[in-house]
Amino acid sequence: MKFDWSAVGDFMPLFWRGVVVTLEVLALGSLMAFALGLVWALAQRSSLKVVRWPVTALTEFVRNTPLLVQLFFLFYVMPEWGVTLTAMVTGVLGLGLHYSTYTAEVYRAGIDGVPVGQWEAATALSLPRSRTWIAVILPQAIRRVVPALGNYVIAMLKDSPMLFAIGVLEMLGQARQFSSQTFQTVEAYTVVGIAFILIAYPASLLLRALERRLVR
């Protein structure tokens, strides 16, 4: 068995297209996970049971079931309910929703980590509740959780190949298509495998450096 470098060359244009799709999915999915996670975290601190309970139940459920099955659920069930979305949008929704249940925990820990004295000081200054959150608590909480959020971006990157299962042509999808057309299986999958390490490893080094700077 020889490794055919010309096949690598043939695969490269498709590969780059896959990289772009992967990064798009990752960027949009991350934004959604960050935003939705914050919503969950705040809802779980609500004084209303009717808000707290359903949100906790939903996030527990989503976090403890496989992303792949959730993607299938969105992809196949939503149209039955009359909502038809492209594979790409479905993928971003699935990834973002799944990881929002993790980022919610991160935010929660970050908010809990803000010293009680900060709340007391805000109260002593008669700051309104919204102002307390926006100006005092969240800026401190989010600063602390940036590295942890970054780790989930890397985790999302590694889960993004699942999206090929609903037809998104990200890196793995391209490799699969290429290998089924040319039978150059070894080359395509190896290129994609190495690409992941090349992206994820520097990213995790970067995060560790960031963590040292932000979290003391």
């Binding site: 079931t65 099955v69 299938f72 780790n151 999958y189 495998g193």
Partner: protein, 259 residues
């Protein structure tokens, strides 16, 4: 749901059995890898630390699904190793999640108070005895909660094998969907199935944790609130940060002065 016949139910239940087997076998391999690599990463020889660290970094940077594809499609072509799909899946899952587990093991070992190792040295225990009698028994209870999180990630990860034709729950769902031409019932059912499996897993690990804590004279942890009833709560992180938290808090029970 009535349109799912008994035959299709059987398909799904067989899928549950396959998923359970996959989880158990992969976890077994994963535990071996986690301890092997995790302990090697604390070895006093630099070369051992480097190689085991490289293993960890490579698998941390690798997507489990892509590695699985690689084992399925590239290994047979490139090296002529053709594995039964089930075992290829176990190999891929065990090696990947074992790598994450190694960080839990390494972190828990590092969190044992240095005084414990010193006391073991002062009693002339050999390095292997230090590890077996003193360090690991104390590190173990610290590992159980993060291992629980990791086990749930592994359970979720087993769904990937359906893409490679292993007839697990998710694979069964595809067949049922094709047969009934309806998606909502079957996908709802299998999501609940996964959730129940995760619940059972967490309950089991809770028992393990209680035993582990009792084994070093600590009271079992108290938990309260909704997440206790749901019982799967309190897992703050998936794979990446799981590893980090493992290195976090230390108990070092003996060093904390008065009991």
């Amino acid at each position: 749901m009535s349109d799912i016949s008994w035959g299709l139910w059987k398909l799904l239940l067989n899928g549950v059995w396959i998923t359970v087997q996959l989880t158990v076998y992969s976890a077994a391999l994963g535990v071996v890898v986690a301890f092997g690599i995790g302990i090697a990463r604390t070895h006093r020889l630099r070369i051992v630390r480097f190689l085991s660290g490289a293993y960890f970094e490579i698998f941390r940077g690798t997507s489990a699904l892509i590695f699985m594809f690689w084992v399925f499609f590239v290994l047979p072509l490139a090296f002529g190793w053709q594995l039964v799909p089930m075992w290829a899946a176990v190999l891929a899952l065990g090696m990947t999640y074992g790598a994450y587990g190694s960080e839990i093991v390494r972190g828990a070992i590092a969190a044992v108070s240095p005084g414990q190792r010193e006391a073991a040295i002062a009693l002339s225990f050999s390095p292997a005895q230090q590890l077996r009698k003193v360090i690991l028994p104390q590190a173990w209870p610290e590992m159980v909660p993060p291992f629980n999180n990791l086990a749930i990630e592994l359970l979720k990860g087993t769904a990937l094998v359906s893409l490679l034709g292993v007839p697990d729950i998710a694979f069964g769902a595809q067949l049922v969907r094709n047969a009934t031409t309806r998606s909502a019932p079957v996908y709802t059912i299998i999501l609940v199935m996964y959730f129940v499996l995760a619940f059972v897993l967490t309950r089991g690990m809770r028992v393990v944790e209680r035993h582990a804590k009792a084994g070093i004279g600590q009271a079992p942890p108290k938990r309260a609130g909704l997440t206790t009833t749901l019982s799967i709560g309190k897992q703050t992180s998936p794979i990446g940060p799981v590893a980090r938290t493992a290195a976090g808090p230390t108990t070092g029970a003996a060093t904390e002065g008065e009991a």
